[in-house]
């Protein structure tokens, strides 16, 4: 059947321009910062350790089984958070030190020193920073 009302074909240049703009916009969407890396930290191991130390007694962590405590802040999207304990910059190093001994970084914090080893702290920090 003949088309009685053909639409004018858009010029090739305009077409390419629009496609390019779309690509740039899409690329912008994915341009989120990748999770900060913790050297020597294994997120999967960190997740297991979170369950082992029963962090859920105080913190709600969606992927870690256990109780759903409310004494500390929930840790979902912890990797996006700017500060640890409301003031310490959330860098891999600070987070590792915090998990190792919270009292050393912020005396009087309600978070106890659980006897987490520096190596375990690295794994746990690696896991926490993947929560975005």
């Amino acid at each position: 059947m003949r088309n009685h009302f053909p639409l004018p074909a858009p010029p090739l240049a305009r077409c390419l321009g629009a496609a390019g703009l779309c690509l740039v916009l899409l690329a912008g969407c994915g341009k989120e910062k990748a999770p900060r890396q913790v050297s020597g930290g294994e997120p999967a191991q960190g997740q297991r350790l979170m369950a082992q130390y029963q962090c859920t007694a105080c913190h709600a962590i969606p992927e870690v089984p256990g109780a759903v405590g409310n004494a500390g802040p929930p840790l979902d999207q912890f990797g996006r958070r700017s500060y640890i304990a409301g003031g310490i910059p959330n860098t891999p190093d600070n987070l590792t030190r915090w998990l190792d001994n919270p009292q050393a970084l912020k005396p009087g914090s309600a978070m106890p020193d659980l006897g987490v080893s520096p190596e375990e702290a690295r794994h746990m920090a690696a896991y926490l920073l993947t929560l975005r």
Partner: protein, 311 residues
């Protein structure tokens, strides 16, 4: 393969072994009958087969077969059940367990002093001998079930039911309230720790001692906080002046020596102790313990440290 913590199919004592054997016989028998019925069904669907008279089916498969099978099962299970350890305190060590919403009070008899030693949420028993557990309740009906050691026994307010625990080898066996008893029924668990007899005797002698005096400034601060926060209104700590009477909540004299807190809900360390004190209602909504409202972080740490070292 590691043994499951709570499994009736991995018995750790003679009574549980007998119950497991009965269970396997039932599973096996049911499986054989199921396969036979399915085979008959398949046969009946074949075309051009001469049907068997209905009355033979009723007389054979409907009457004779169940009568023979069920009678045999009844005789055999009655005979085997008679071999279960009798539920009596005679010749056995006695322990008292009182179920409460939603935890367990456990009382031992100290042979040295003749006094009662009160603990909670953990039953310690010596291996190789029957231990009679006198069970009661102060509120609603609960039921104690430690699948690896024996069957269930209800705890009924106003009466004492008996349950014999007999562990062959040392180990930790999880038990659970097996009768719905309210909001936190699911978090009303306990652990049975079976120990070699001499080890058990040492443990009991230690458990009978009053709480030890604080050994550091932090622990001393925690002890003061315990009294300041009026924890002694519900919890007893033997050896702590002013905190030797209350029995509303679990006895905390040796709480640091237990494997779990909050009736099997959390493993016991200073982190979970602090989290529990700060907000038990988040972890076990409806539990009788109120959340701490005016306790600063450092004091919470001290209190958790104090409880942790009460071993």
């Amino acid at each position: 393969m590691t043994t499951p913590l709570q499994s009736a199919l991995h018995p750790a004592g003679p009574d549980a072994a007998l119950i497991a054997q009965l269970s396997w016989i039932l599973f096996g028998g049911a499986a054989i009958i199921f396969v036979a019925v399915m085979a008959l069904l398949a046969l009946s669907l074949r075309p051009n087969k001469r049907p068997i008279a209905t009355r033979w089916w009723i007389a054979g498969a409907g009457i004779a077969f169940p009568v023979v099978v069920l009678t045999a099962l009844l005789v055999w299970s009655t005979w085997r059940s008679a071999e279960l350890t009798p539920q009596t305190s005679r010749g056995a060590m006695s322990i008292g367990v009182t179920a409460k919403m939603w935890w367990w009070e456990v009382r031992y008899h100290d042979p040295a002093s003749g006094r009662e030693v009160v603990s909670a949420n953990e039953i310690r028993i010596p291996t190789g001998r029957p231990v009679y557990v006198g069970l009661t309740s102060t509120d609603v009906i609960h039921s104690l079930w430690i699948p690896a050691l024996n069957g269930k026994m209800d705890t009924v307010p106003g009466r004492v039911n008996g349950l014999t625990l007999h562990a062959d080898k040392p180990g930790i066996y999880r038990g659970q309230c097996a009768e719905y008893c309210g909001a936190q029924h699911a978090r009303m668990a306990l652990y049975v720790v079976a120990m070699a007899p001499d080890e058990f005797a040492r443990w009991l002698a230690r458990e009978a001692q009053p709480a030890q005096a604080p050994s550091s400034a932090l622990v001393e601060r925690g002890r003061a906080a315990f009294l300041e926060q009026r924890c002694q209104s519900c919890h007893m700590i033997r050896g702590l002046a002013g905190a030797e009477h209350a029995r509303l909540g679990p006895d905390l004299t040796h709480v640091g020596g237990r494997t779990h807190i909050a009736a099997g809900t959390l493993r016991n360390h200073r982190g979970t102790l602090a989290g529990w004190i700060a907000d038990p209602q988040a972890i076990k909504p409806g539990a009788r313990m109120p959340a701490a409202t005016d306790i600063d972080g450092a004091t919470l740490q001290a209190l958790a440290a104090y409880l942790e070292q009460l071993k």
